[in-house]
């Protein structure tokens, strides 16, 4: 039965079938929630063990228990046969357990190198930090990760994908026994993923046990030897990856097979809602021209750093164009602030929910209504009962899992936080909805529902612009696709007729169509 699994990983599984790590009957309670109920889980040396489950199933919590961040209310942890009790993350780290967090935990005011070596800075002469060694070692690790930024860069200046790479770099400081990746690819594009896969395979070869959490089935099947599923805080079974199928796993996760998103794409387009004419922000992107019609979904595809988010931020008033025009509803508009943008009916779901999307210390309801306070207040006074109605509506529509609206958003699981951000912007009833990586961290079931929601919105007349690094998502929802490469639009495709190859060429700068305009060929 396990022969196929072993064959994928010839060096270790065969001779070390007994797990290096066992979690037995772990229980963890939070006020109002039993996040984990007697969950058992184990990892073998040199294996990738995938951990799956819906948003809020308890995956991150289980791994935080393992890494000493939470102390369990019951259950035991065995590492290499030895019973462990971690009072804090430091102890777990000392035992060789590294957790790559889902919600990034970097210190923004520090350099990349300091973040990578946080808590284990190289010293010389007793207590001085050895800066030379620090940067040399960091540069070495960054090179292995094929990162292009410097170890001296400030973390606060990095994009979310680069931050994720720094987070991953932390795992390579010393050879650990167990590495947990909690949705490492959620903020990476297809470009960075292979690097991560290589790193994981290398760790495997060294006999490191790996836990891999992701909502992307293709990755799970690509990387893992075994798959375990959590459901509502309970253990729901383990499968050998080689002997199972996506359908079987999905069924274990959500109790039914996935009804694919059959809602068809919108078909009726009216006049232009948004039109960009040679929009330029110096040094960021140049000469961007495209339009989004009412009732249409336009996808924007490209690599990290292609300038997609920056275009969105410019439309949303966060950056001022140095040249070019933004037309809304046929009129040239100058959007000086986000307040202007919201007043003109523009909504932006930002890519970075923790830093830009949510007030983590605020409760779920208040976060949900924050962008449309006018709709739930009269004469400046909040109408809390109406706020509750709004909250309930989106909580139900997107199945947001939380004990009550009073829960602080910071205590929600990653995927549920994302749903709050989406709900928050849907409630503004925008004329132009811009979604930057809308389904980051969202489970397969909810993903289909959110895609359905987006299409429904377009059908009812909204203009929608979707930025995504996931090709299936872009292809699945867009009527048209704008490809960007290094701050320029390289091509525009029909969303139903484009091939994946062409898309890939376009975002790597190898394909320039006639639709991209004469400005490009002139400057090329």
């Amino acid at each position: 039965m396990s022969t196929t699994a072993i064959s994928r990983n010839p060096r270790h599984s065969a001779d070390s079938p007994s797990p290096v790590l066992s979690l037995i009957n772990i229980t963890k309670k939070f006020p109002g929630v039993i996040a984990l109920n007697k969950v058992s889980f184990d990892v073998r040396a040199g294996e990738v063990h995938a951990l799956l489950g819906e948003n809020g199933a308890g995956k991150s919590t289980l791994m935080k228990v393992l890494a000493g961040k939470h102390q369990p209310n019951g259950g035991q942890i065995f590492l290499a046969g030895e019973k462990k009790f971690f009072e804090n993350p430091k102890q777990a780290k000392k035992s060789g357990i590294v957790l790559i967090h889902q919600e990034q935990s970097l210190v923004p005011e520090m350099s990349v190198a300091e973040n990578i070596f946080l808590g284990s800075l190289p010293l010389k002469w007793g207590n001085r930090v050895d800066w030379k060694k620090l940067h040399a070692d960091s540069t070495e690790i960054l090179k292995r990760l094929k990162c292009t930024f410097s170890s001296r860069d400030m973390v606060s200046n990095l994009s979310i994908a680069k931050k994720q790479m720094v987070e991953i770099a932390r795992a390579l400081v010393f050879t650990p026994r167990i590495v947990v990746f909690d949705e490492p690819t959620a903020s990476l594009t297809d470009h960075e993923k292979p690097v991560l896969y290589d790193i994981i395979r290398n760790l495997q070869k060294q006999g490191v046990g790996i836990v891999y959490i992701s909502h992307r089935m293709d990755e799970i099947f690509h990387l893992s030897q075994r798959i375990s599923v959590l459901r509502d805080g309970e253990y729901n079974g383990t499968l050998n990856t080689a002997d199972t199928s996506e359908d079987e796993v999905t069924k274990l996760m959500i109790g039914r097979t996935l009804k694919l998103d059959h809602a068809s794409k919108p078909r009726e387009f009216k006049e232009n809602m948004l039109e960009l004419r040679s929009l330029t922000v110096k040094g960021v992107f140049e000469d961007i021209s495209f339009n989004v019609r009412k009732g249409e979904i336009v996808g924007m595809y490209g690599l990290v750093g292609a300038g997609r988010s920056e275009v969105a931020e410019t439309i949303f008033g966060l950056r001022q164009p140095s040249a070019g025009e933004i037309l809304l509803d046929g009129k040239v508009e100058s959007i000086r602030s986000t307040h202007d943008a919201v007043a003109r009916g523009i909504a932006l779901v930002p890519e970075d929910r923790k830093d830009k999307g949510l007030i983590l210390g605020m409760n779920c309801r208040d976060n949900m209504t924050l962008s449309a306070l006018g709709s739930v207040s009269s004469m400046g006074f909040m109408k809390t009962s109406e706020e509750k109605v709004v909250y309930d509506k989106y909580q139900r529509a997107m199945k947001i899992k939380t004990p009550s609206w009073r829960q602080k958003v910071g205590n929600l699981s990653g995927g549920n936080q994302q749903k709050i951000v989406i709900g928050k912007w849907l409630h503004t009833h925008p004329k132009l909805l811009i979604l930057d990586e809308p389904t980051r961290g969202i489970d397969v079931g909810s993903k289909a529902e959110i895609h359905g929601l987006i299409k429904e919105l377009a059908r009812s007349g909204y203009a929608v612009l979707v930025i995504s690094s996931e090709m299936p998502e872009v292809l699945g929802v867009s009527n048209r696709i704008i490809a960007m490469y290094e701050g320029r639009v390289t091509a525009e495709f029909d969303g139903d007729a484009v091939s994946e190859d062409k898309l890939v060429q376009a975002i790597t700068g190898q394909y320039v169509t006639e639709t991209s305009g004469p400005a490009h060929s002139a400057s090329a």
Binding site: T338, H339, A343, G361
Partner: protein, 336 residues
């Protein structure tokens, strides 16, 4: 094995117990400390819990309280205001000096306008130019003190005819047996608390203090929000100056000196975090009253008034420490 098991269980239990105690201490520690002090004071001084003494304490605390209400809003919005001390000097000197020159009504109006202008300068520098609030208001603290000295030429000011001016009502008057300063304090506190809890304005301030970037991404005008908190703070200082000037009917150039720290002490004692995005006016009121009672108790016990500075310092350190201990779930840090 069994003994290890028991040991671990004991650690777990001990930990639970310690966490419970910590939670209790951090939530109620100041209150417990306060009650112990009250009890101790009342043992040594019969006067302490008398109705007239309590009213006196509340009345005296109201000036600090009025200012603290405003500064609480600034702090919830994620900034600091250290300039309130010398602003209080400025406003008090101004209103007292102008009283005899242009009459009480004109003096009050002009004083409010000028105080709000100082607040607006703070607001512009911090809200719109995004300068660090600590530095801006600290600089403002000394700048305004200089302004006071220039204005008064270093002389103290007072009101010549103190017995028949209606200006006396703000500091010395009573309505229905309650001192006017206390009424002013209460009304201001209620209005501001209601504003913070039940209006969209309050929601925005909490958002800006909690996560400024996310607030901007939500379409909130962060600049204006921060600006407005400094106007509120200045307005509260002007009200406090009204009470102070009217009570003493004269003013030294430095009456407000040290108020910024007392105000901050009250706010921290109440438990409002200096990080922003959280806190309430109620907490501040409790903090300010605790401070007032402890100072009064020390005086009644016969300690010279400057001991209160030392005691205040101890209390602040205690409050900050317990707050931090709660966040890291232990009393002492193990990190080097």
């Amino acid at each position: 094995m069994a003994s290890i098991e028991q040991g671990k269980q004991a650690i777990l239990l001990n930990k639970k117990y310690k966490e419970g105690l910590l939670n209790f201490l951090s939530a109620q520690g100041i209150l417990v400390f306060f009650l112990i002090c009250m009890f101790a004071f009342s043992l040594f001084s019969e006067q302490f819990l008398s109705q007239s003494n309590i009213m006196t304490v509340v009345r005296q605390a109201s000036i600090i309280g009025i200012i603290a209400v405003g500064v609480t809003i600034v702090i919830i919005g994620g900034n600091l205001d250290l300039s309130v001390g010398s602003m209080l000097s400025f406003s008090t000197v101004l209103v007292v000096d102008l009283h005899d020159k242009i009459g009480p009504a004109g003096a009050i109006v002009l004083m409010f306008v000028l105080t709000l202008m100082i607040g607006a300068v703070n607001g512009l520098l911090i809200g719109f130019m995004r300068l660090n609030s600590l530095i801006v208001t600290l600089a403002m603290l000394s700048a305004v003190q200089g302004l006071v000295l220039i204005y008064s030429g270093g002389k103290n000011v007072d009101i010549a005819n103190q017995s028949d001016t209606w200006f006396a009502i703000f500091g010395r008057g009573y309505v229905l047996g309650i001192a006017v300063p206390v009424i002013l304090f209460a009304v201001l506190a209620i209005i501001v608390q209601v504003g913070m809890s039940y209006t969209s304005y309050g929601r925005r301030i909490f958002a800006v203090g909690g996560n400024p970037a996310a607030a901007v991404y939500s379409g909130i005008r962060r600049n204006w929000c921060v600006f407005s908190t400094y106007l509120i703070s200045a307005f509260c200082v002007a009200c406090a100056a009204l009470v102070l000037g009217s009570r003493v009917m004269g003013s030294q150039n430095n009456v407000g000196q040290g108020y910024e720290l007392l105000v901050l002490a009250g706010i921290i004692l109440g438990g409002t975090s200096l990080l922003g995005g959280a806190g309430s006016v109620w907490k501040t009121i409790i903090g300010v009253l605790i401070l007032g009672f402890i100072q009064n108790g020390l005086l009644l016990l016969g300690y010279p008034y400057y001991t209160q500075w030392l005691v205040t310092w101890v209390i602040i350190i205690l409050a900050v420490w317990l707050d931090l201990a709660n966040k890291r779930k232990r009393l002492f840090t193990t990190h080097s």
